[in-house]
Symmetry: C2
Subunit: 217 residues, 2 copies
């Protein structure tokens, strides 16, 4: 099919398709003449995946490029794919070398020890957790920092199910894509449900009229 039909089939504008081609997220079509390319079902599927990762999952173009490179690499292990997808959903920050970072690093290490997690400082989440706790420390957000174990327990309850759902060593085909899709969209689902659960909790605490979309305290 030509680019116009690809656009209609996927509900992605021709301009966006050209952007994804330029950014290397989408493979070029087969040239049928010097200025006309032919696209196939693989392009339709890839565009759906790009849209899911970027629009619904909230990945940056650089993050999407990185996880899509894993999808396209026959040699990548499922665990590398898991690590790359995790890194893509986290904000990247410049390390700040101050007392707040030192205290935060200690808090994360102690939490990992306390909970017996099998992880290390090389995990992208470790650094990200330190950055968040340090930022909260600098801003006086100690009440939220105090929820570290509440959050950790919630993620323990989720992670085992997620790994079981996305990693299937008996079925190699599409498995890296499943890992990437599951980690990125699972994260977006957590964020969405958190918003609803917070509204529900605040309505329970302060009355339904006080819920976020209803306005005043």
């Amino acid at each position: 099919m030509r680019i116009g039909e690809l656009s209609r089939r996927t509900d992605v504008s021709v301009a966006s398709i050209k952007y994804y081609l330029r950014e290397g997220l989408l493979a070029p079509g087969e040239l049928t003449s010097p200025n006309q390319a032919h696209y196939d079902e693989a392009h339709v599927r890839r565009l759906r995946l790009i849209r899911a990762l970027v629009d619904v999952g909230g990945l940056s173009i650089a993050g999407a490029r990185d996880v899509l490179a894993a999808v396209d690499d026959d040699q990548v292990s499922l665990y590398d794919a898991l690590g790359r997808a995790q890194a893509a959903v986290m904000a990247r920050t410049e390390p700040v070398d101050d007392d707040a970072t030192e205290r935060a690093g200690k808090a994360v290490a102690e939490m990992v020890e306390r909970r017996g997690w099998i992880t290390s400082e090389k995990n992208p989440g470790w650094r990200a957790a330190v950055d968040v706790l340090a930022a909260l420390d600098r801003l006086g957000g100690e009440r939220v920092a105090g929820l570290l174990d509440v959050y950790a327990e919630a993620m323990e309850g989720v992670a085992g199910h997620e790994v079981e759902a996305v990693v299937d060593r008996d079925e190699r085909e599409r498995s890296v894509e499943r890992v990437v899709t599951g980690i990125v969209l699972g994260g977006a689902l957590i964020t969405a449900l958190r918003g609803m659960a917070e509204q529900s909790a605040s309505a329970r605490r302060y009355g339904a009229g006080a819920a976020p979309d209803a306005g005043a305290v």
Copy 2:
């Protein structure tokens, strides 16, 4: 202080400070001569907040502008602030009108009913959850979609504590800032801990050598 000292104090480059001024995230300094402005401690604090929201929390500039407008508005309620912070951490998507969206909408409504959540379709999370489930449906990610109640239960375990930690009606000062900071950075903390918990779960299931940062399956 002048812009150079503001930069040194906050570890934010002069170019970034000028960008935040142009984008309206940071209030202009007081002009002491036609091309020289004076900044104070409020600017130091605001820059720390901007950096926390954008770099650590992963907000877009538009998202940061929206939540900072709430921080600056004396009239905004804590619940409006909560809703705005929730909306800022979620990806914004164009609605797609297809069978997948219809099925996803039904699944979210049934989950809310089943769990007795006090929320509505106006909550930004509702729409976002529908979008994620629809995207998973289109991509064959039904295993992750099947975790809907696992995720929902985890967020129930978190939301009550979060609302209690960030909403304090007895203390108005800085309270909108606390809501915004807590919701945005709490979300980043969840993402970070999820990455570590997933590594730990995969190490438990497949052996520590199979953990994400260690490479091959």
